[in-house]
């Protein structure tokens, strides 16, 4: 299928119609929103922050193996959990996390799961989340 070349027109008419078309956008609603005051539309399945159910984690290290860029490291955490004998819990570096969701998918007990939360700005110059912080709500972590 051959594409159609635009027809030859009288000079300046096309420019004028383009100007009118551009200027008519003045009366349309802006598509951008002022972020902190107005929340943008947040799709239902949007995922960012990795959370952890400490009681479900069995310390199998699958998430560490599957993480493509080594954001997850297993950390020793002494805690009462009969299923997790090795006392290993994931420790996530959000600075390198690419939200590939492989860890959520591979986790045999669905202990790791991703949440809506994406406002993870912190005053601390590190994105490392310890297992305990992963288990907490984002608001509590900030405190």
């Amino acid at each position: 299928m051959e594409v159609k070349e635009p027809k030859r027109r009288i000079p300046l008419v096309g420019i004028l119609s383009g100007m009118i078309s551009v200027a008519s956008h003045l009366f349309r609603k802006p598509v951008t929103v002022q972020y902190p005051e107005v929340r943008p539309y947040e799709p239902e399945r949007f995922r960012f922050r990795i959370s952890l159910k400490l009681d479900d984690c069995v310390g199998c290290t699958l998430c560490e193996q599957v993480c493509p860029n080594g954001s997850i490291k297993m950390e020793k955490l002494v805690r009462e959990n009969p299923r997790n004998k090795r006392m290993l819990y994931p420790d996530v570096n959000f600075g390198t996390c690419t939200v590939c969701r492989n860890c959520e998918e591979i986790c045999p007990t669905t202990a790791i799961y991703l949440t809506h939360e994406f406002e993870t700005a912190r005053t601390k110059n590190s994105f490392l989340y310890s297992p305990l912080e992963l288990a907490m709500d984002e608001k509590e972590v900030k405190k």
């Binding site: 096309g14 860029n69 998918e105």
Partner: protein
């Protein structure tokens, strides 16, 4: 060598270099006599990284190749990886991939359309294109949770199923988008100045295009009716009706028109895909949960797919392990960029910018 020539270094930090292209140009006044592209400023050696990860992990490197149309890259990788591993996706997943890949193609072309205007000094269409693209990205977010580097597809299917809301959203998009597309299209092609900047500039002949391995819309604009979706159908592209837009002019305008026509054809494919979307599982159970990292592959496979930039090939050599032995990527823009010194010989500096814009450069893919 002429002493009168100015040696001008354009890039890697330059407003119209689409990332980190560096051009060493020799100028005779305003006219470019010699041009040498220097690339590699975004080189991450994804091929080496792929050798070090499991098959399922490597997808994220492909997301980051053509970061404006990431889903096309995922399709390309999975075409090869799934054949190597022997876990074919079910029909529903294949149709979902077709729909998503075409949406992603539209998204990539929209970025190009907007950025091309910027290259020529046209500010406004960029924002209109991105406003439309944002709707597609919202659909992606709705489908899988991320906007751009989605990692939506996984080996043996897709990460999440489509639900009614996504399908409704795609339908809404199909309804509103064509009108906006025509608006953007008219903003460009009705403008005499735009036509004067594109018509007859950067003419690429059929023979040169084939010899230099140019593919995709650039090749089609030079008059070769070649599309991997037709030539070697993957997924379900043999079951949908679409036309391959070509032009025999080979200039910037032809490339522009071919890309816009491709967007319209993509809309047709999406429409058919939504009609034909079957019920059923959306992933191959052999590749889920802990099986993800235990899949072993053997042999070698070269999969070619049509990304928004051209023929995207993934060549995987496996040695029976859980990780690929060698991954080689044929990135379309890498080859397309090699035509730039040929095309921009003895053209004006402003035209060289227009030509390099019309190639549709994405540096994640060139440097990999």
């Amino acid at each position: 060598m002429n002493d009168q020539w100015i040696e001008l270094n354009i890039g890697p930090q330059h407003p119209s270099m689409h990332g980190v292209l560096r051009l060493k140009a020799k100028l005779d006044g305003e006219i470019i006599r010699e041009l040498e592209p220097v690339i590699g400023y975004l080189h991450r050696n994804a091929e080496k990284l792929c050798e070090m990860g499991f098959y399922c992990d490597n997808l994220i490197y492909f997301d980051r190749m053509d970061y404006v149309g990431a889903m096309n890259m995922e399709v390309g990788y999975l075409e090869a990886a799934e054949k190597i591993l022997g876990v074919p996706p079910p029909d529903r997943a294949k149709w979902i991939r077709v729909i998503i890949a075409e949406l992603s193609r539209i998204a990539a072309h929209l970025v190009w359309a907007g950025a091309y205007g910027l290259d020529l000094g046209m500010l406004t269409p960029f924002f209109y294109c991105f406003a439309e693209r944002e709707k597609i990205l919202t659909i992606f977010t709705e489908a899988c949770g991320s906007r751009q580097e989605t990692n939506y597809m996984s080996i043996g299917g897709v990460y999440q199923d489509f639900n009614d809301k996504i399908i409704q959203e795609i339908k809404d998009f199909l309804e509103t988008f064509p009108k906006r597309l025509e608006e953007i299209y008219n903003l460009y092609v009705k403008n005499d100045v735009f036509l004067s900047r594109t018509k007859g500039i950067g003419v690429l002949s059929k023979e040169v295009a084939i010899a230099y391995g140019v593919t995709g819309p650039m090749l089609r604009a030079s008059g070769v009716e070649y599309d991997v979706r037709r030539a070697e159908p993957y997924l379900f592209y043999d079951k949908v009706n679409f036309e391959i837009p070509i032009s025999h002019k080979g200039d910037n305008l032809a490339r522009f028109l071919v890309r816009f026509e491709e967007m319209r054809q993509s809309l047709r494919i999406i429409k058919q895909g939504l009609e034909k979307l079957p019920e059923g599982p959306y992933f191959n159970p052999k590749a889920k949960k802990s099986m993800m990292i235990r899949l072993r592959g053997d042999g070698e496979y070269y999969a070619r797919t049509e990304s928004s930039k051209g023929e995207f090939g993934v060549y995987i050599v496996a040695d029976g392990g859980v990780k690929p032995y060698r991954v080689r990527v044929r990135s379309p823009t890498f080859k397309n960029l090699s035509i730039l010194p040929v095309l921009s010989k003895d053209v004006m500096l402003a035209d060289m910018i227009a030509i390099s814009g019309s190639i549709d450069l994405v540096f994640g893919e060139i440097d990999r």
